[in-house]
């Protein structure tokens, strides 16, 4: 920017969003940390105060009871979350890469419309689209009926309320988030590099393995993080499509909060999740900074 | 009092010195050129005048006022950008009116001024068009009209003819001169094309590595360059390098040192050179009186009205002579010739 210099103008521009995000994003995380150290109570709000004014001044009444409880009962949920998220990420990559590749190599005039149609489902309600999968995957749903009508099965397959439907739902929901950064990377690939490789005698498979793949790694990394991080804490999909065996962290948090009204416990669940996500988040931050 | 007064201005970018203690002044109604190869600092100097960069040292005065610390929007200077920088979301009239709206001119006067500017650049029918609908030459006219709309005392032009093809360049050059005369604004333009500078400017500052190598009229710069650099950069030239010996130039090209009184003050052995423009180099079959160098015709380049004849000396040095094609017809490849010139036509260079 030409007339730079650090003046009041620059502060005017930065201050509002900075303060807003600080108050409504960072600060709340601090509050969560604080409340995770309190206990559930029958008060409004339903937790014991962290700080009390006693005769000895300000005292803190912190307890790690919530975390101990968490370690005893919710570890499996964290394991499920990590596992399902990882599996969904891998599948999104497997399914999304060919699609992104096909769009990137499509005739120029087709690329933007194709991308538009990849993004369009994202603009319509996820909730409703996941609900649609219920009607497809149910025992009395379309898929089973079709298979029965074709004579391929005698009894309906258990396609819903299990790991299969959860992973399917996750892949379905997050696929656009994988395709877009992959496309970004692949579309920047210089066609002449591939031609040069071919000219030097490399077969298509080798060209892909040694040139296309390495050069598209930034897109792969970005897409993987964009899917993995939110998928771990996903609530709607395991709730609607999952069953008792697919308990994920998002649902545990929800249940603690809404069903058990144990806010401190929910806060503890959230804190552990935040800690788990710190490493991927910092990675994403580094990638984002490098990309610009 | 000059219109633009630049006093020992310097600008560094990190370790690189772009402008090094430059001083020059431009008067009212002048067409002034900053000429030099890329990296010589001419564009940086232009941007310093416009206010997009602050000098690290020195002062800049416009019309007697010190504008060194003033931001671009407070200087009575406007610029025509090399890429035109037309606002894509405004039409032609909107672009031209932008600066007028900024200074709060009321609508009717604004419209009148816009119409006046459009007429000046002969784009009256294009008022409602958008920039993306215009050709390169048309965009340039709009950019010019926009820059002149506020009637600045000083107009800066960044490589105005660079993006145009040859024929358009000719026409545009004449138009620019005509407009400048009509409007009376001083023009300072930056170019790397010495033909452009010689053809348009009343005064030229030739720049090299952040400094002004020579400042003068087109004729002065061309006929009396003050250094090897200027002689070589502006126009074609035959340069004979050698050393000063008394008041003569001793050079491998000459059998005997050539007497040059201008070299009298130079210590013995200092590097010096002699410059002879191709049109001043005379080729003849017979050995001329005075300076004579033996050579063989290497090629004859027909260029329409004139021809360029290259002749090689026995030591392999290539001489370049320019003459009317009718005269060039007398020379064929391989023919032996003598090269000579009128001593008054050669320029002694001490650096």
């Amino acid at each position: 920017m030409p007339v730079t210099g650090w003046g009041w103008r620059q502060w005017c521009l930065i201050a509002p969003p900075f303060l807003w995000l600080f108050i409504f994003f960072l600060l709340p995380l601090g509050v969560v940390a604080a409340i995770s150290l309190t206990q559930a109570a029958d008060t409004i709000p339903p937790y014991t105060p962290l700080f009390t004014h006693g005769p000895d001044g300000l005292q803190a009444q912190a307890s790690f009871a919530n975390y101990r409880l968490l370690a005893r009962s919710d570890v499996r949920a964290y394991g499920n979350s990590l596992g399902f998220a990882a599996l969904a990420t891998a599948l999104c990559l497997l399914v999304g890469y060919p699609i992104a590749f096909a769009i990137a190599r499509a005739p120029k005039a087709w690329r933007n419309p194709l991308l538009f149609f990849v993004i369009l489902p994202f603009w319509t309600s996820l909730l409703i689209r996941v609900y649609a999968w219920i009607t497809i995957l149910q025992p009395t749903g379309l898929l089973n009926r079709a298979l029965e009508d074709l004579g391929l099965i005698n009894q309906p397959l258990l396609l819903i309320y299990n790991g299969f439907s959860v992973v399917l739902g996750l892949v379905y929901a997050y696929l656009p988030f994988m395709i877009l950064p992959l496309y970004g990377s692949l579309s920047q690939l210089d066609e002449s590099l591939l031609e040069a490789a071919a000219d030097l005698g490399a077969r298509p498979a080798r060209v892909f393995r040694e040139i296309v793949l390495p050069l598209s790694l930034p897109g792969v990394a970005a897409g993987a993080l964009l899917v993995f991080i939110p998928a771990i804490g996903e609530f709607v999909i395991p709730d609607l499509l999952g069953g008792p065996g697919t308990l994920m962290v998002g649902k545990v948090l929800w249940q603690e909060f809404f069903d058990n009204v144990d806010w401190p416990e929910a806060a503890a669940v959230a804190m552990v999740l935040v800690v788990l996500l710190t490493a991927p988040l910092l990675l994403a931050q580094r990638l984002a900074e490098r990309a610009t | 009092m000059p219109l633009l007064d630049i006093r020992t201005v310097s600008k560094n970018f990190g370790a690189v010195t772009a402008v090094d203690g430059v001083s020059l002044s431009v008067g009212e109604g002048e067409l002034f050129a900053l000429l030099g190869p890329s990296g010589c600092g001419k564009t940086t100097l232009l941007r310093l005048i416009a206010g997009f960069e602050r000098p690290d040292a020195g002062r800049i005065l416009i019309d007697g006022n010190d504008v060194t610390e003033a931001p671009p929007y407070r200087r009575p200077v406007n610029m025509m950008f090399q890429s035109y920088a037309l606002f894509p979301h405004l039409d032609v009239a909107g672009n031209i009116a932008f600066g007028l709206k900024q200074e709060g001119m009321e609508r009717r006067r604004r419209a009148a001024r816009v119409a006046e500017m459009l007429a000046l650049v002969q784009m009256a029918d294009y008022a409602r068009r958008r920039p993306h609908e215009l050709s390169g030459g048309q965009k340039q006219r709009v950019a010019l009209a926009r820059a002149l709309a506020k009637m600045p005392k000083l107009l800066l032009l960044d490589e105005p003819l660079a993006a145009l093809d040859r024929k358009l360049r000719e026409e545009t050059r004449l138009e620019l001169i005509g407009i400048q005369e009509r409007v009376g604004t001083s023009f300072v333009f930056v170019t790397h094309d010495q033909e452009e500078a010689l053809g348009m400017a009343s005064r030229i500052a030739v720049m090299e590595r952040g400094r002004v190598a020579q400042l003068g009229s087109a004729a002065e710069i061309y006929e009396r360059p003050n250094s090897r650099f200027v002689a070589d950069f502006v126009g074609a030239v035959n340069l004979f390098d050698g050393v000063a010996a008394g008041s003569a130039l001793k050079a491998p090209a000459f059998d005997t040192p050539i007497p040059l009184p201008e070299l009298a003050d130079l210590p013995e052995g200092t590097a010096a050179a002699l410059a002879v423009r191709p049109e001043k180099l005379r080729l003849s079959r017979a050995r001329p009186d005075g300076i004579a160098i033996a050579a063989t015709v290497a090629s004859v380049n027909y260029q329409g009205g004139i021809s360029i004849v290259h002749a090689a000396t026995p030591s392999g040095r290539m001489l370049k002579a320019q003459m009317a094609s009718t005269a060039a017809a007398a020379f064929e490849r391989g023919a032996p010739v003598w090269a000579g010139w009128d001593p008054a036509d050669a320029v002694a260079l001490s650096r």
């Binding site: 030409p2 995000l21 190599r105 538009f116 991080i229 609530f235 709607v236 | 671009p72 606002f87």
Partner: protein, 272 residues
């Protein structure tokens, strides 16, 4: 590339888009199904659309969601544009790392965390300062504006990267002060990002279930909340009709916006 590979690519695209659009196609088809059951096709009918219009709870929820969406998107646009501009142009300032983290994290952090943390903040703030007095439209709007602004910032930042900065110099040269330059040259120049940013924030707000569930209050049910409670009870065909209407509206708006943007991009590129 040989024919065979192109055929493979076409198949990949067909399968991929089939997968993405199958549920959507089904929703639309079954919204016209006269029969309640998915198993039975009862013929074409607009019955469910009628039921949808008559349904108070969906109508009220939709109205809430629309209001929240518009306010949150507008707020997100204002905050996000400033943020995107700042992060793109100001390369060094104290707190830049924190700022950049705060702009990126809400995009990926799970919604349950966003929702819970904001609710706890509102509750604590109510206990200490008395604000907010009650949770409802305002708190949901604040929450949606928070993550919406991060999305807007991404789009603005990307568009600024390709912005011709000589236009700014030209404006300054013609007498515009820096704020004028922003308002009269830069913002019009990045309008595709502004339009798509607003739309994106609006859509995200309209679609959000989790965060709204945490920070909302009684009598401020949003459309996703109404749909969710409906779906938990059992599959009701009204939802198909709702989905189709929703889809139609979104497609119209998004198509309009994208064609507008594409037209402006063509102009911008032709300029060079």
């Amino acid at each position: 590339m040989s024919r065979r590979i192109t055929l493979f690519r076409a198949a990949v695209l067909a399968l991929g888009f089939g997968f993405l659009y199958l549920p959507i196609a089904l929703l639309i088809a079954y919204s016209f199904n006269a029969s309640r059951l998915v198993a039975v096709w009862g013929g074409w009918s607009l019955h469910w659309y009628g039921a949808l219009i008559d349904d108070d709870k969906f109508r009220d929820a939709a109205w809430n969601s629309l209001r929240i969406g518009m306010m949150a998107a507008s707020l997100a646009l204002m905050l996000g544009t400033g943020a995107g501009f700042a992060i793109a142009r100001f390369t060094r300032f104290p707190g830049r790392l924190v700022f950049s983290f705060m702009l990126m994290a809400p995009l990926v952090v799970p919604e349950v965390i966003l929702g819970l943390s904001l609710l706890l903040l509102f509750v604590a703030s109510q206990a200490w300062f008395g604000w907010p007095a009650s949770r409802g439209l305002l708190t949901v709007t604040i929450a949606h504006a928070t993550f919406g602004s991060c999305f807007v910032a991404v789009l603005v930042r990307a568009q600024l990267a390709g912005f011709d900065h000589t236009l700014e110099e030209a404006a300054l040269d013609l007498g515009a002060r820096p704020f004028s330059v922003l308002w009269r040259v830069i913002l019009p120049g990045i309008s595709p990002a502004l339009v798509s940013g607003w739309l994106l924030a609006f859509t995200l707000s309209l679609d959000d279930l989790v965060v709204a569930s945490f920070v909302s209050g009684p009598s401020a049910t949003t459309l996703p909340m109404a749909v969710y409670s409906s779906v938990r009870i059992g599959v009701t065909p009204e939802i198909n009709a709702l989905a189709t209407v929703f889809l139609a509206v979104v497609i119209v708006i998004v198509t309009l916006a994208f064609s507008l943007i594409a037209r402006q991009e063509r102009r911008r590129l032709a300029r060079r």
